[in-house]
């Protein structure tokens, strides 16, 4: 039954797996008693600065990505949030007991994916190297193993579900320091993994949608921007495992995976050429003198700040650095991303339009001479403060050498969400970054807890029935189910007593329409939406006015009541409407009811309910 597409991906040795991270909507954090509900902006009560070092994992090996980050010698600053953090977040107090609500939710999720539940849970520390956790580790607990879900006719194996702590949110990032806020740190999240045998990018997308829907139907997950993130692991035969981190939009997952496959294919093509060319990357050397009088702005600026110019030759690389590996990205771009880790702006290479930079032929000639280059060769130069330039060129040489080996193992992040391309973030962590959390006791899972998990396991089919009944339409129900707005829909139905069909229509169609017109409807708070629907339900505004209110809310123009008042959106009804009809009728001497109706509606479309008007005109 293998499709054409499946066969195509099988032939290239395609491997793909998902990691889905979803924040849970518990009252308290995973290992302390701070509330998980975040305020719109965090309130800092102190700033603390820390430096972190790479430590050996339980196997005694220092992780390559940890070492890499330590190399960068960064300062980490934590804005200590007042409402949502205590001493536990800033690593000044041992963890409290494991949050039971989070544990039970994770058990329910594991059950819904037919997993085996681990009967004695051992909290572990997973080393975190980018400073996003003040303790330099994240607590994680394996809850379930060996599960399976059915997605578009395929059985997808689900080898693991973890309960983890959320990391800090980043506030700012400069050359030498990263600033984080502790407010969201420690919020419980689940990590749900598939095995690496998802057959095609399309099935990967379906699987991500399915898992997202499944956990959302539980009603136990946080919603809003950043509360769900999906990581994708991709490789092809002779390529390498690459982890694309933090994809927010599930709808684009397949595109990102397709592009990663293409990138690896292109890198392998490049490798083949380089081997044929007998290519070689030379050691870097300082060439500052050549550019003493340069008019090239990017170099001039650095030299004026007493910077240096370093360069290296790439034998047999002529034309290779300019080869496109993904839309808008060349091999040169890939190398540049590595160099940037040394705090430089980027690299300049020989496949670029060098005269556009302002380099003279004399400078280029001298550079080629000093690097003993022939027509077959390429060069890379970096101009920056010596300390940064030296570090950066080491990273660049390393990456350039790997072009002759193939695809580097990497963690990558979104470069462009329009083009669905990615860029290097850091080397892929190896397995040595976990060790037991000795501050927290192992947790025994009792039969009661297991049974609770099974009873509470979310069930998509059941949920579909419930939603279908509410909206009286299976297609709309299906759309709602896979939409991130599902929980919001349920809350609005429950709290505003408005017709579920209207709510579904607004959340699915109107929102899409307004989004297309550039309105930031997703930033509207749930409370404002509740107020809007209540205003409609109580007859304060008309159905048509809902759109208007939303537009103003998206522009952050204040509270719903103010928006209604400031924009003259109060519904005219009852006695007032009767008087309005009378005055319009007299003024225009209008006796034809249809014409009168059209005239009134043209003028007061947003303020009058068409049904009520018709009723009244009949009288």
């Amino acid at each position: 039954m293998a499709s054409e597409e499946e066969k195509r991906y099988k032939d290239i040795g395609f491997m793909c797996g998902l990691e889905i991270h979803q924040r849970l909507a518990t009252a308290k954090k995973l290992f302390c008693d701070c509330p998980t509900r975040l305020k719109e902006s965090s309130e800092t009560m102190a700033n603390i600065a820390r430096y972190q070092r790479a430590v050996a994992g339980e196997l005694g090996a220092i992780d390559v990505s940890a070492q890499f980050e330590e190399l960068r010698n960064r300062k980490f600053v934590y804005n200590v949030d007042k409402t949502n953090s205590c001493l536990v977040e800033v690593d000044e107090e041992p963890p409290h007991g494991l949050n039971r609500e989070a544990l039970l939710t994770a058990l329910a999720f594991a059950s819904s994916m037919n997993m085996k539940i681990i009967d004695e849970l051992q909290p572990m520390r997973k080393e975190v190297v980018d400073g996003s956790d003040p303790s330099a580790f994240q607590r994680t607990i394996l809850i379930g193993i060996d599960g399976e879900i059915a997605v578009s006719g395929y059985k997808i194996k689900m080898p693991s579900l973890f309960l983890e702590e959320e990391s800090c949110g980043i506030v700012s990032n400069t050359e030498t320091e990263s600033v984080y806020s502790t407010d969201r740190l420690g919020i419980p999240l689940v990590e749900i993994d598939t095995d690496p045998y998802i057959p095609t990018p399309a099935v990967a997308k379906e699987a991500a949608l399915h898992i997202g829907t499944l956990i959302r139907t539980s009603g136990k997950v946080q919603r809003g921007i950043g509360t769900i993130r999906q990581d994708v692991n991709v490789s092809i035969r002779d390529g390498a495992r690459v982890e694309i981190k933090g994809l927010q939009d599930v709808a684009l997952i397949d595109k990102f995976i397709e592009n990663e496959v293409i990138r690896q294919q292109k890198l392998l093509e490049i490798k083949d050429i380089l081997i044929l060319e007998n290519a070689k990357v030379e050691e870097p050397r300082e060439v500052t003198v050549i550019f003493r009088d340069t008019k090239a702005k990017v170099v001039r600026q650095q030299l004026d700040k007493s910077g240096v110019v370093l360069a290296f030759a790439l034998k047999g690389f002529a034309g290779i650095l300019g080869k496109e590996v993904n839309p808008g990205r060349r091999l040169g771009t890939e190398i540049s991303d590595y160099a940037k880790m040394g705090n430089v702006n980027g690299i300049i290479h020989s496949d670029e339009n060098l005269s556009a930079y302002g380099f003279s032929d004399g400078e280029m000639g001298e550079l080629r001479k000093q690097l003993s280059m022939t027509q077959n060769d390429a060069f890379i130069i970096i101009a920056a403060k010596r300390e940064y330039a030296e570090k950066a060129i080491k990273f660049a040489v390393g990456r350039a050498k790997h072009a002759m080996v193939g695809v580097p193992l990497e963690t990558r992040a979104t470069a462009s969400s329009e083009l669905c391309t990615t860029k290097f973030l850091r080397p892929l962590p190896s397995g040595s970054r976990m060790y037991p959390e000795t501050d927290a006791k192992p947790i025994m899972i009792t039969g009661d807890m297991q049974r609770y998990g099974m009873r509470q396991a979310p069930d998509i089919e059941k949920e579909k029935e419930i939603i279908s009944k509410l909206v009286e339409n299976r297609d709309v129900a299906a759309k709602l189910l896979t939409s991130p707005k599902l929980s919001l829909f349920k809350r609005l139905v429950e709290e505003t007593s408005t017709d579920p069909k209207l709510i579904a229509n607004v959340l699915l169609q109107k929102f899409t329409e307004l989004r297309r017109n550039g309105m930031d409807v997703d930033s509207i708070s749930e409370e404002s939406l509740i107020d809007t629907f209540i205003a409609y339900h109580k007859g304060k505004i008309t159905k048509q006015a809902i759109d208007e209110v939303l537009k103003h809310l998206a522009k952050k123009e204040g509270k719903v009541d103010d928006i209604i008042a400031n924009n003259d959106l109060d519904r005219v009804k009852g006695e007032k409407l009767r008087k309005l009809i009378e005055s319009m009728g007299t003024k225009a001497k209008q006796t034809d009811i249809n014409l009168l109706r059209n005239e009134i509606m043209a003028k007061y479309r947003l303020k009058i309910d068409g049904g009520e008007l018709n009723e009244m005109l009949k009288k």
Partner: protein, 303 residues
């Protein structure tokens, strides 16, 4: 009476008097007290005055009132403000917030501690923020959470039973655990250990007769309640981080969260005065009147 001479008998009398005043219409009470043991009295009143619906303020002076520079006047004036005007239905201590004659802090009775032998700002909120500040001019600025007075007449009940056979024991290098046997022979029913760091006593020591585990086990075996607080004063004890902690906790020692050792002592003795040993053990690490905070925030240290 000098405050170091005050005992649970006086605490009981004070509680009775305060309750009587409140039940006969006082909307708040100010108690002038010697400062040395004022935080013990404040803790005792916090537990003894149940169903409290009025502010009860203890205050004193670090400079005697016979000198013009005394802090007594401002402390007293601020205390009266709290008692007469605030809606704080708690027992607390109101003293200078800093060395300047500018601001007085009202600190929860179970979280206050005298932290300096002579300074005016000796009393500090430990693992907590003050409930309020009172300025020299008399305005009250609320800064912490507190139990609000309910819309019913001021009221209090005094539950003054107290078990005097409870000991507060500090461990230190070379300390002799046999002291527990002495207390048990005297019929003691409860012990608060002032442990080191996260709540340790010597256990895995190589010196014979210096491990506290055996003696603690024998106390628990005889039905006594053993609680653990930290001599660090600031911070929380923990029962998992190190092996000796797990051994003590497995032996039945109750880890008293972020409670002050003095407060834990008063609480256990009050609990044992009113409950069975089992029930007292159950309640020791549960918050009753603000003595345990689930969260210690970053700003709640020294300053």
């Amino acid at each position: 009476m000098a405050s170091e001479d005050i005992s649970y008998i006086e605490w009981g009398k004070l509680a009775d008097t305060v309750a009587k005043e409140i039940n006969s219409g006082a909307r708040g009470v100010v108690i002038a007290h010697g400062t040395d043991t004022m935080h013990y009295t404040a803790a005792a009143l916090s537990f003894m005055l149940t169903d409290l619906n009025a502010p009860v303020v203890l205050t004193g002076a670090q400079r005697s009132s016979d000198r013009g520079s005394s802090d007594a006047f401002l402390n007293l004036a601020a205390s009266v403000r709290i008692a007469a005007e605030s809606d704080i239905a708690e027992v607390g201590i109101c003293m200078h917030a800093s060395s300047s004659d500018e601001k007085m802090a009202f600190i929860r009775g179970t979280k206050a501690r005298k932290m300096h032998s002579s300074r005016r700002d000796a009393f500090r909120a430990i693992n907590d923020t003050p409930i309020a500040y009172v300025t020299k001019k008399g305005s009250i600025e609320i800064v912490g959470d507190y139990r609000k007075m309910e819309k019913r007449p001021p009221k209090a009940r005094a539950e003054t039973k107290f078990e005097p056979l409870v000991a507060l024991i500090k461990v230190y290098p070379n300390s002799d655990p046999e002291i527990i046997e002495y207390y048990l022979e005297q019929g003691y029913r409860g012990f608060i250990m002032e442990g080191t760091g996260l709540g340790h006593t010597p256990i895995l020591t190589e010196h014979p007769g210096r491990s506290w585990l055996t003696n603690i086990k024998s106390a628990i075996g005889e039905g006594a309640v053993v609680g653990m607080a930290s001599q660090c004063i600031y911070g929380r004890v923990h029962e998992n981080v190190y092996k000796p902690l797990r051994m003590l906790s497995a032996a039945g020692v109750v880890y008293c969260q972020d409670m002050l050792p003095e407060t834990a002592y008063v609480k256990l003795a009050w609990l044992l005065g009113n409950n069975s040993n089992e029930r007292a053990k159950e309640l020791l690490a549960k918050n009753i009147t603000g003595e345990i905070n689930e969260r210690i925030t970053f700003d709640e240290f020294l300053d």
